[in-house]
């Protein structure tokens, strides 16, 4: 059999080198983290840095890799929430907003349908009874005029409302397609609002994910408690519609606003400020609905609708101020300041920006909440580190005692294995949890298995009288089938754990699975490279495994 090809040797060495270099930043976790934070802050500020940031940046050389393993909540401390969004809440809001429109539409047909009443119904259904059942066809036609087509990717061509007649009652409810589209919108808005509020606090790497149909997973490292996080999510951003003072658009940040006026920065345009009246015309509380749609030019927009009082105020204001700009202000930043083109009577209109404001569209139930204090996380890291170190020393001593020099070879492979696990975890941005650390420590024990199989085989071959070179080749080749089979089954369980598990279990599955893959590489290829190189260099007459 041929010795290992040169390209193979080089490839193996390259992978090992990559693993070691990639794992190094994790040994200097605090430093590299400060470096990364400073780099991100400087980038966000457009290249300017403070002295403090520059000092942090200098703590870690730029030419070295700086990817780190993410520490899970159980190691870093923080809060975890699993929230269920009550998407049905929105149906009620929509139905309630629909009633005045239906009433107005039927009022014009009073002579045919008679008087109109809202009949009792579940929250997500609107039942309207008409006095003269003979006019039902006309009434249905009129109500159908309110029907729209669903704005979504899948619901094309379907209408938003299911309108049927039952006796003298018109039954109106949201169609299935519209319900789905509404759910999606509710989830997107909820996610967006939560993200915005958490970003405002500026914590590091929060996780905000949609899970399944109507759930949101929120993990925020470094926050004091789940209750604090809930309070944060619950705070409503302030949305107001304010009048812009004459000549209120300025690039001078130091401009003096008049009495009862305020100067606010623009959200999108750098260096632009608006001087607005402090008393808003309408506030976000008077907004009943906001949803994505398209404006008359086919551009994406957000349609919004006010409640009765809001609509009246808005209508009056726009009628009186045609040609003047008004500012849409969110948390003291001007989102947009369109010029009023005409009187907007119905109290509805379109914003050419994403409306990220207002209260959450629907209430949330919290199904799961966990708070882990930073001290507990630090304890866990210390414990994990201690266990890893002691475990490593024990395994090293044990292997050398059992296999002598070959034990040393296996130890080198093991060290490279752990470096590779850390490097890959850093590179893919995986999260390391406490069970994950246990997974790594466990891998140290189990990764040795492949080497043990090989060495035991080599011993057998040597006993049978093979020369060192042949014993090595036989040992590696014959053990391979068993190594393969045992690792595939291990990998199988890791995949299942990842697929069905959640949170900490997933973290464990990732490190375990990775550990299996890297240990196969190090045990089979790295050890073989070392043993071959040794045999080539020394050409011993006899070896003892």
């Amino acid at each position: 059999m041929q010795p290992m090809a040169l390209w193979k040797r080089i490839l193996i060495l390259l992978i090992c080198a990559w693993g070691i270099v990639g794992a190094v930043p994790n040994l200097f976790y605090g430093r590299v983290e400060r470096h990364n934070d400073a780099a991100a802050a400087i980038e966000a500020a457009g290249g300017t840095s403070s002295a403090e940031q520059a000092a942090d940046l200098a703590e870690w050389p730029e030419f070295l890799p700086s990817a780190l393993v993410n520490l899970g909540l159980d190691l870093r401390g923080g809060a975890h929430l699993l929230a269920e969004v009550r998407v049905e809440d929105v149906y009620k809001t929509r139905i309630d907003a629909l009633w005045p429109e239906v009433r107005d539409a039927l009022r014009d047909l009073r002579d045919q349908v008679g008087s109109v009443r809202r009949a009792p119904s579940p929250d997500d259904v609107l039942r309207v009874s008409i006095e003269k059942p003979a006019g039902m066809a006309t009434a249905l036609e009129a109500v159908n005029g309110l029907n729209d087509s669903v704005v979504s990717l899948t619901g094309v061509g379907e209408s938003t409302l299911d309108i049927t007649a039952e006796g003298n009652e018109i039954v109106i409810q949201l169609s299935e397609a519209e319900k789905q589209a509404t759910d999606n919108r509710t989830m997107q808005q909820s996610l967006e609002i939560i993200r915005r509020r958490i970003d405002e606090v500026g914590t590091r790497e929060p996780t905000i994910q949609r899970q399944g149909q109507d759930r949101i997973l929120i993990q925020v490292p470094g926050i004091g408690s789940a209750a604090e996080l809930k309070a944060l999510i619950g705070t409503t951003a302030q949305l107001t519609f304010n009048a812009v003072a004459p000549g209120g658009r300025t690039t001078n940040a130091a401009a003096q606003p008049g009495p009862r006026q305020a100067i606010l920065p623009s959200m999108d345009e750098e260096g632009v400020y608006y001087i607005v009246e402090e008393t808003p015309v309408v506030t976000g509380e008077e907004l009943v609905d906001a949803q994505p749609s398209f404006d008359q030019n086919g551009q994406p927009a957000v349609s919004f609708r006010f409640d009765t009082t809001g609509a009246r105020k808005f209508g009056d204001y726009t009628a009186a101020n045609i040609g003047a700009p008004f500012a849409i202000v969110l948390d003291n930043e001007v989102i947009s300041a369109p010029v009023i083109q005409s009187h907007i009577p119905g109290g509805s209109g379109q914003l050419a920006v994403l409306l990220r404001a207002g209260a959450l569209p629907a209430e949330m139930n919290f199904l799961e909440e966990r708070t882990i204090g930073p001290e507990l996380g630090a304890d866990s890291i210390a414990a994990g580190r201690m266990a890893a170190l002691v475990g490593m020393v024990c395994v090293i001593v044990y292997l050398i005692a059992c296999y002598g020099m070959f034990g040393l070879f296996a130890n080198i492979a093991l060290a490279i294995n752990i470096a590779l696990i850390l490097a890959v975890l850093s590179a893919i941005g995986a999260t390391l949890t406490l069970p994950g650390i246990a997974g790594i420590v466990l891998t140290m024990g189990m990764a040795v298995d492949a080497n043990v199989l090989i060495f035991e085989r080599m011993r057998e071959e040597l006993r049978a009288g093979a020369n060192p070179r042949r014993a090595m080749e036989q040992g590696f080749d014959r053990a391979f089938s068993a190594i393969m089979d045992s690792n595939v089954t291990g990998l199988l369980t890791a995949v299942i754990m990842f697929w069905l598990g959640s949170g900490a279990v997933r973290g464990f599955a990732v490190t375990l699975g990775l550990g299996i893959l890297t240990s196969m590489f190090t045990a089979v290829y790295v050890t073989r490279l070392i043993v071959e190189s040794y045999l080539d260099a020394k050409r011993p007459k006899a070896i003892v495994v």
Partner: protein, 323 residues
Amino acid sequence: MAWRLRLVPEKTNIDFFRIQWVTFGASIAMMIASVILIITMGLNFGIDFRGGTTIRTESTSAVDVGAYREALGTLELGDVSISEVFDPSFGPERHVAMIRISARDGEEAVTPQVIAEVEAALQAVDPSITFPAVESVGPKVSQELVTSALLAVLAGTVGILFYVWVRFEWQFAVGTVAALIHDVLVTVGIFVLFQIKFDLTIVAALLTILGYSVNDTVVIFDRLRENLAKYKQMPLREMMNLTANETLSRTIMTASTTLISLVVLLIFGGDVIRGFVFAMLLGVILGTYSTLYMAKNIVLMLGVDRGDKPKKSDKGEYANVDA
């Protein structure tokens, strides 16, 4: 010859079947005992599976479970369990306890008021108390977690059954899976017996046990397959003994390195993952035992088809490299 630490002599000739009815009977008895224990005593489920709240407390003064219980008694919390946690790393100035409050019926969300009340009541008993971790799981999620955990263990078992069946023969698959069920069942039984908290991480441990145990079994089967091709005439029982003796050194070696890592984790890994590590430890010991005394026995009982026709798998690319 250089000195080597050897747990197993170079050449062993142990008859693993000599007391097979004792060992096999013991295994069956343990499995039955586990099932009975699970049914009668029930698992001590953590909040992951039962819903509820756990609060970890830490204090510089000693934990007085009675005083804690008294302080919480007035709050009408329903089922409350308080246990002190010990760890060698704590030292004399750190006293940790876990308080578990069961979920109340029909309460989906966890009320922060209740947690605040509990914390206030405990602070009244012991002003130095802090709460490093508070975790709540609603009954809805815990139901789903139970389902997905059962599904995970089931899927793991089926996946392994299928893989071993494809790679070897069906008899081997049955033997492997019987050994797996034995390992997992007895581990769970021991958790019931000592009423150790059973939560999501324990399920992860059970799955890892599946992986480890099957690894062990497969290595022996792999060797057995090789020997089946090599010694056509040897009786199956003898051949199994030969195989087990040949691989014994490796079996013990791997088990001992894994056990070393686990014992280190058990001592130094902190109390948070102690249950997890303990489950793994049991699993490795049981897995090694069931490999030697359970999986092979079942294959022997079922018999192996040793027709003269050469088996496809014996001509695998790794098997005959020295030909």
